[in-house]
Amino acid sequence: MTLIIPVSADPVVPVEAPSRYGRWRRLPGNAKAGVILLGIFILIGVIGPLFTPYDPSYQNPKLSASLRPPSSAHLLGTTQSGQDVFSQLLVGIRLTLELGFIVGAIATILAVLVGVTAAFLGGVWDEILTLTANVFLVIPALPLLIVLLGELPQKGQTALIVVLSVLNWPWGARVIRAQTLAIRNRDFIGAARETGESTWRIIAFEIIPNQVSLIAANFVNTVLYAIGASVALAFIGVINLSSWSLGTMLFWAQSEDALQLGAWWWFVPPGLAVALIGTSLVLINTGIDELGNPRLRDANSASRIAGRRMRPTDPTPVLASLEPRRSPVAAFVHSFSRSSLLEGNDR
């Protein structure tokens, strides 16, 4: 038995204009989870330092306060020198997030500037900018950062932000340049040029809005990298260790043998915080990818029509069998649909 499915019956696409909430609902699940997780951490970073129960640097001289496991007085226990881990964590999350977002913003702006400039200037300038970007992509970044910071007299947060921003634009510049080249010769750009719009206006109002998702993905990636690099550099001990970030917490935990002393409450919270912030960023990035390329979505989250999983990229179902293994006609039609290819050897 076959039946005809009305095409407009697709339940996920609302007919009315998407409200703010509707837009949120249509985000891929990954992105939602990532945004919520990151939001929690941003909240902690913004208001957390106001609620620290102790001064994170205060060293309790009493021996009984040293290396205590989590308790009601110290939610996450204390360090070797009696400092409160929970207070350090609240302050550290702010500093680490702050660094990530500032580096992400600066590096993304640089990437857009270089990428669009290279694509528009063309010729020798394009070659030089592209070559520079590729060279800095291939030189391993962390050893270079270590040498740079190791010899820098000031190694505070500002120096780290400057160095990371300067070294992090090439990846984005490369991608944005390629995309700009692809868009540049489209008809709507030609139309804009014909109407006499200036190059800068075209760049600002035609080119850049058309690669927002690319720029956003680049921003998220840069934040992720900056946080990872800053934590690693602090852990190695090449940057100023007097302020509390997640990396410096891990450095002190490692250098004062938290591991050998079995003080898991000392090194697990900062490491887990870095990992969770990183996960939220990866989730958001996957979500951005899935928005641009719906095929990448986890097929399990796709809607079902007449018992069959349908994805946005599948051909419109004209004939479908209610019985799982189909009638000859339906089987014939089905054999030409792309979904058969993707599901062909499921179980």
């Binding site: 050893p143 270590i146 190791g150 690693a232 190695i236 001990g237 095929r295 399990n300």
Partner: protein, 328 residues
């Protein structure tokens, strides 16, 4: 051939940029790295001055250009002079003794992670929606976790609590390095946890990337054509879809090597593994600038060399690189 030559030209430029950066960094730094180092080691041996001259330009009479030329000459001969902190040893011999450790461990683990991740990615991409997709959130967590933190957790669980693996170092303290069974066995058991760290934290990235490219490739018409011809799934997967999906993956491999090496450096500290990363960090903590700079160069050269190898593999895999005109 034209492709390889172009790429080689690019790597030469990259190597030159790295060498020039290495030359300029200590000379352009605000403050005086050289004064620092001389005041820190008052009993500096005359021979150690050679290293300082080569890398930092201490007390060198010549102009900047002259220094640059002699610096390049020294680098080309792998003559980095005598080390400042470990006086009689030369910088090159210090580096030389650590390279085999890092190369064996990081090289093997990276190749394993790449192959495993790619294979899993092929499966996950082909059976989109299968059980492998349910692991995706977990994989993203693994991808986001810092290498060294994961290493700490592994040590805590397997070395401190379960006593299955040794806690660190490259080999047990009683064993003398040499080509005998007890040393090799000891080295292997000490390398398992560090290798596991690299494999587990980096496999997710390869897998996710391969899955995504694979899914996009499967949507191509030639894959559909392959199926329509009635080819077996196995043949469609491997010779139609995966072979093409592998090219972006390989290109990514070259670029990702820098990240892998960076992660491995920090990982070595956690395990006190006697590799080049640990040497670099020890050089940083003792302000041994010449050693730091030499290590940076050696690591960069190694990454560039690995990239050359990847490019040669790409030439074998991708016929488009073998024609004269290579699209950019």
């Amino acid at each position: 051939m034209a492709f390889i030559l172009r790429r080689l030209g690019f790597y030469v430029v990259a190597a030159w940029v790295a060498m020039t950066l290495d030359f300029l960094i200590p000379r352009l730094m605000p403050g005086n790295a050289v004064a620092d180092i001389v005041s820190k080691f008052p009993s500096l041996q005359p021979a150690a001055y050679k290293a300082l001259e080569a890398m930092l330009g201490v007390g060198h009479p010549g102009s900047l250009w002259h220094q640059y030329v002699s610096y390049l000459y020294d680098v080309f001969h792998f003559n980095f002079g005598t080390d400042v902190t470990e006086y009689p040893a030369s910088v090159s011999s210090l580096i030389g003794s650590t390279i085999p450790w890092t190369l064996t461990l990081v090289g093997t683990a990276t190749v394993i992670a790449f192959l495993l991740g790619t294979a899993l990615g092929i499966l996950a991409g082909w059976r989109n929606g299968g059980w492998l997709d349910r692991l995706l959130p977990g994989l993203m967590f693994l991808q986001a976790i810092p290498y060294f933190f994961f290493a700490l957790i592994l040590i805590e669980v397997f070395a401190v609590r379960l006593h299955v693996f040794p806690i660190g170092q490259g080999f047990s303290s009683g064993v003398v390095p040499g080509w005998n069974m007890s040393f090799i066995g000891s080295a292997i058991s000490h390398s398992l946890l560090p290798a596991a760290t690299i494999v587990i934290t980096s496999v997710a990235g390869w897998m996710l990337q391969m899955r995504n490219v694979m899914i996009t490739t499967i949507g191509e018409d030639y894959v559909l054509a392959g199926q329509a011809k009635g080819l077996t799934d196995r043949r469609v997967i491997y010779t139609y879809a995966a072979r093409n999906a592998l090219l972006p993956q390989l290109q990514g491999f070259g670029l990702a090597l820098g990240f892998v090496v960076s992660g491995a450096i920090v990982m070595e500290i956690v395990f006190s593994y006697p590799g080049i990363g640990l040497l670099l960090v020890n050089a940083v903590t003792s302000d041994d600038y010449p050693l730091m700079q030499a290590i940076f160069l050696v690591i960069t050269f190694a990454v560039l060399l690995a990239n050359v190898i990847v490019d040669i593999v790409i030439v074998f895999m991708d016929p488009r690189t073998r024609v004269r005109e290579v699209p950019a």
